[in-house]
Amino acid sequence: MTEALIVSILIITIRAGTSLLYATLGEIYTERVGILNLGVEGIMMMGAATAFAVSYHSGSAWIGLLGAVLVGGLLALIHAFLSNTMRADQVVSGLALTIFGTGLASFMGQRLGPGGTTMVGLQGPKFVRTPLPLLSDIPILGPSFFNQDVLTYGLYLLLPLLWFFLYRTQPGLHLRAVGEKPLAADAMGVPVIRTRYIYTIFGGMLMGVAGAHLSLGYLQGWADNITGGRGWIAIALVIFATWDPLRAVIGAMLFGGINAIQFRMQAAGTTIPAPFLNMMPYIFTIVVLVIITWWEAISKRLGAPAALGLPYAREEKH
């Protein structure tokens, strides 16, 4: 492999992985606090549609991003309300959110262009790739890691912060406690319901950014069904990463990069059956799932948060 090929594969892998990683981090924070949000696909779709519509009409990609964050948070708030306050089934609420978000985004796409026409095919403000001075001169790593758009750079900062917050701070400890043993957390004086609201909404905001990266950074435009199931991949990635923000990076790059790599191999005239390569990330996910389910010692350390998907009420014993 030549240097140019390695760089081009790295660039595309990081770009393709960016939106997946935002969504996965959002879902990790949500699940860590005990809420299962299957609405990722719908929230991403709404994030993408909102980001494009708002930036197109305001003329600023940043305002579009803000719109996506707000919409993501708002949709997650609906899920938080249904799961925490109404104590509804989280699977159903999440699926409903996906159906709702996908439909509404498609509707917005048909109506929010100039004069109530379609948004498909419009050119709007975008986050273009900008090389960072000095850093981008490093061989191989420079042009691949430091020649990206601002949302990817944001991820470089956010990732260590999210990890540190989760494992090394007191609010992070509370967050995990609420997801593992809400009753104990409650007894410690941690407001379980409020904590769950906060991080579910925060997770939704990250999913909104994931959508915004598709329509403002990666594709630079709106297309119907733009996420193409990537929200579901993010949910699988949470398991793949065993609920750890840093391990999510590997998964996101693997899932994101696999297509880009197999397309490049095809373009270069190599033949590895595409369906086989496409299968790989899912096989890994199933393997991880099987291991953490059947192997108790590992399950305790790496398994799902114990209270995942269970509504909390003080009177009930878990």
Binding site: V92, Q110, G269
Partner: protein, 367 residues
């Protein structure tokens, strides 16, 4: 999650699914007898895709314009291929449709099933091969304008490398790649066409990634057989040229789209519905070409030089006149062996089951 909650969730999901189904069927209204012929269109995507469905929608609008009060049309967008399609087709029939156009290959069996149950309704399935007393097929020889677009690409590539983003390795797509490549090699025997399979008709992200992979390999023109404009946009952002498909993609992307092989269903829809109205409709298998107007080459970009345009024009005339078609020999297979001898032409049957590449294509059909 405990087993109990899982069961509960599953039960709730079933209820939800039922509720959605019920909502979907809720459009049933009391039918008033009317003189209008009710014509329904089942779409795989949204008319706003600017590609495949957009072109069928243009055809429907032309039908409404031409036949006015004689017809009333309805559309059902975003119908997935498979069991959902059967339900969607049955719904429009139950709501009084007299003619149903089902516009995706995967609707073939569902269309046939519903057709067999409703002998008083006429069904028209696009791109398939199964027919019945009350069910016909229709499609177009898009390979003809694809060949013409190949002439443009072959003349204008400087790298002698053209990328082709392709959906699935099925005869329809293979035929398109071959016709395009024959056009390319007609004017530029040194050029080659590289194929990348995406294994999807519609996924803007994958379509873009495939186009970028080809651009990274050094292709300076991108052609495609997909449903969105994303490969065209990817090429433009890299300063490369492209050939569109389905609709005149230059209107949405700009003049870097040199031309597009396009569908033009309007005439066929008007003709067919006209025949239903005057009672002369019969089961048929329509496969029209440039001469019938059902397929066309979009207007050439101002970037295309005049001599290339005149070459396209003369080949166009040759095809329309019927004296020659794209798959008339001599044609070599990918490995250089003679596939079709000089003076021979492929039969429609052979064309419809094409599973080999012509010389000049780089790519594989093994999946």
């Amino acid at each position: 999650m405990t087993l109990k909650t899982l069961w509960k969730s599953a039960a709730l999901l079933m209820v939800l699914a039922l509720a959605i189904t019920a909502c979907g069927g809720g459009q049933a209204e009391v039918e008033e007898p009317s003189e209008e012929l009710k014509v329904a269109f089942i779409y795989i995507g949204q008319p706003g895709d600017l590609g495949w469905t957009y072109e069928h929608e243009r055809g429907r609008l032309m039908l409404e314009e031409e036949l006015g009060d004689q017809v009333e049309t309805v559309t059902v967008p975003d119908v997935p291929e498979g069991p959902d399609a059967e339900k969607a087709i049955r719904d429009v029939v139950n709501n009084g449709a007299d003619v149903v156009f089902t516009t995706s290959f995967g609707y073939m069996d569902p269309t046939l099933t519903v057709a067999e149950e409703n002998s008083d309704v006429i069904f028209e399935h696009c791109s398939g091969f199964k027919t019945a007393e009350n069910m016909s097929t229709y499609f177009g020889r898009i390979y003809q304008p694809r060949y013409l677009s190949g002439l443009v690409a072959g003349s204008m590539t400087e790298a002698n490398l053209i990328g082709y983003v392709a959906a699935f390795p099925i005869p329809e797509v293979v035929r398109g790649i071959n016709a395009f490549t024959l056009g390319v090699r007609e004017v530029n025997p040194d050029a080659e066409v590289r194929v990348v399979w995406t294994n999807t008709w519609y996924d803007p992200v994958k379509e873009r990634e495939a186009a970028e992979a080809l651009l990274d390999e050094g292709a300076d023109i991108i052609a495609q057989h997909q449903d969105t404009t994303e490969p065209q946009k990817a090429a433009q952002e890299r300063g490369a040229l492209s050939i569109g498909y389905d609709s005149d993609m230059a209107q949405f992307v700009g003049d870097t789209v040199l031309t597009s092989p396009i569908w033009n269903w309007g005439t066929y829809y008007v003709d067919t519905v006209g025949k239903v109205i005057d009672g002369s409709w019969e089961t048929h298998q329509f496969w029209g070409g440039l001469a019938d107007g059902v397929v066309e080459l979009a207007e050439l970009s101002p970037r295309v030089p005049a001599d290339v345009a005149s070459k396209v024009e003369s080949e166009h005339t040759r095809i329309v006149s019927g004296e020659w078609d794209v798959f008339c020999g001599p044609i070599n297979a990918q490995d250089g062996s003679v596939k079709i001898a000089d003076g021979e032409c492929m039969s429609d049957g052979d064309m419809l089951s094409m599973d080999w590449f012509v010389e000049g294509v780089v790519g594989t059909l093994e999946e």
